[in-house]
């Protein structure tokens, strides 16, 4: 049911905070960088980590899903950007937009931004598949009791309601309601009564839930919290190196190295750019390296 399914490798066994910090660092770096070399480095390291976690297939389906967005980004950038100087094609007048003018720079910019989108999508795919939502919510438990409790309860009620949904739609089918044929609108119209039946039964359930919480003494005193997750040296190592990568990234952004000038003419990519970009990417490869090492030399 949940997209998270446990797999037996190091990346799944990391402390949830470590995974969140890793994902957060890559996300922030992807937004800071505009240089294609840096973005490419990030993309490669995220995919190697995804591969180490055994989630290549899921990653591919994420990428397929985002291809439409990539196409749109390239298209809109190409159609509307007027700052490029290397014109490839100059064509007919289009109403609203003006003369069609396709420049190499605009295409490059569209592709660069698509690279950024792919990094972001892939790193969130890594998060979705490798971090247990319950454990991630546990981290917030200390900060806010009520909202985290509501989220956890809702996460638990969700599969229950899906089961209700399947049960009730089977009963509806037995009664002759055709749920899978007809136009989209007809189907939607027939599905909504099921939702309203679930509403009735689950409101009843929520009262029982509240009573049982009350009976167990919810809200009678200060909340206690506990931590079940183990901190291992590798967690500290990954956190330290992720923060180092973030620091390097911010430094290079302030120095202007990781910024790339697309307009008016494409900037040349120097060897130094590649070196620094691959250095940052290498730092972020650490979880995959640790996973490989752990398999090669098991304890």
């Amino acid at each position: 049911m949940l997209t998270y399914q446990f797999k037996d490798n190091l990346i799944y066994k990391l402390h949830p905070l470590t995974s969140i910090i890793f994902v957060g660092v890559v996300f922030v770096l992807a937004l800071i960088f505009s240089h294609p070399a840096y973005l490419l480095g990030l993309l490669i390291s995220v995919w190697v980590v995804l591969g180490a976690a055994g989630n290549l297939k899921e990653g591919q389906s994420y990428i397929k899903f985002s291809l439409i967005m990539v196409l749109m980004i390239v298209l809109i950038n190409v159609l509307f950007a007027r700052a490029g100087t290397t014109i490839i094609y100059r064509g007919v007048d289009i109403p609203l937009i003006g003369a069609l003018e396709i420049s190499l720079e605009a295409i490059a910019y569209g592709l660069g931004m698509s690279l950024r989108l792919l990094v972001i999508i892939s790193v969130f795919c890594l998060y979705t598949y490798t971090v247990n939502p319950d454990k991630a919510l546990h981290l917030g438990g200390r900060l806010g009791g009520k909202s985290v409790l509501a989220i956890t309860l809702s996460l638990r009620l969700f599969p229950l309601m899906i089961k209700d949904f399947q049960r009730i739609s089977e009963i509806q089918r037995c009664r002759g309601v055709k749920l899978s044929t007809g136009s989209l609108w007809q189907r939607a119209k027939k599905t909504l009564p099921i939702i309203s039946i679930i509403l009735l039964s689950s409101l009843e359930r929520s009262l029982q839930l509240a009573e049982s919480m009350q009976a167990r003494g919810y809200g009678s005193g200060p909340r206690s919290t506990y931590d079940r997750d183990l901190w291992r040296p590798r967690d500290y190592l990954i956190i330290a190196l992720s923060i180092m990568a973030l620091f390097l990234g911010i430094c290079s952004a302030i120095k202007g190295w990781s910024a790339y000038r697309y307009y008016p003419i494409l900037e040349e990519i120097s060897g130094l750019d590649w070196i620094l970009a691959s250095f940052i990417a290498m730092i972020l490869l650490l979880p995959a390296i640790l996973n490989w090492g752990g398999k090669k030399w098991p304890l």
Binding site: F80, R82, T128, L155, A210
Partner: protein, 231 residues
């Protein structure tokens, strides 16, 4: 008590001033924040906005029944989203969030919206869109509760108009991030192009919301109203 509320308000004002300063800082040259990436900045702002709502929820006195209610309604909206996910943009989640906000007020409405976005994404996949969806659905709840001010019964026309507006509002707010993060130059033309490309989906969402409100608004309202008496 009053003093407490004053202190609370002053904190909101402080956060607001900080956000505005941050925004202004990106426009003034010769400081480290100059020309900060807008995608990052807008995501930070959305995070701050959600945190303020969650924070005020933490500080308020909420019974266990209300917490269970929020969890139930947000799970229901999430289920509705998944059950209808084959039919893109035509989904009753926004309607469910809005009707619970209409009955229970802005704070509960925001929490139901935000949590249902978060929870359904645990099943559909988390992404940079999660905080934006949380904010959008939460704000749909807040807007719906504004319509309910001073009303003792279900006002179909007001609610339906607001439901239609929320369908458009949802897409329009989410587009901001898409535009800020991936487009160049950031001008009115690219802005309009991004909005035009999502217009069809936004309209389906709006029309779906309106039809759901007309068909099921008063039933859901009666059910929730009766439930409110137990709390």
């Amino acid at each position: 008590m009053l003093n407490h509320i004053d202190k609370f308000r002053s904190r909101y004002v402080l956060i607001l001033i900080m956000l505005i300063l941050l925004m202004v800082a990106t426009l003034i040259p010769e400081n480290p924040l100059y020309n900060l990436n807008w995608a990052l900045l807008s995501t930070m702002m959305v995070f701050a906005a959600i945190l303020v709502f969650f924070w005020s929820f933490e500080r308020s006195r909420v019974s266990s029944k209300l917490i269970a209610f929020i969890a139930t309604m947000s799970a229901l909206a999430a289920v509705a989203r998944i059950a209808f996910s084959a039919i893109v943009s035509l989904q009753p989640s926004t309607f469910i969030i809005m009707i619970s906000a209409y009955v229970f007020g802005p704070q509960i409405g925001f929490m139901v919206g935000a949590i249902s976005a978060l929870v359904s994404n645990f099943f559909l996949g988390q992404g940079p869109w999660t905080p934006w969806q949380m904010l959008c659905w939460g704000m749909c709840g807040v807007l719906a509760s504004l319509v309910a001010i001073g009303q003792n019964e279900f006002r179909l026309v007001r609610f339906t108009v607001m439901a239609g507006f929320c369908g458009l509002f949802y897409g329009w707010v989410i587009n901001i991030w898409h535009w800020a993060a991936f487009m160049y130059p950031l001008n009115i033309k690219t802005f309009l192009a991004v909005y035009a490309s999502s217009l069809a989906f936004d309209f389906i969402h709006a029309i779906g919301n309106m039809v759901f409100s007309v068909l099921f608004g008063s039933t859901f309202y009666q059910v929730l109203r009766r439930f409110k008496k137990y709390i």
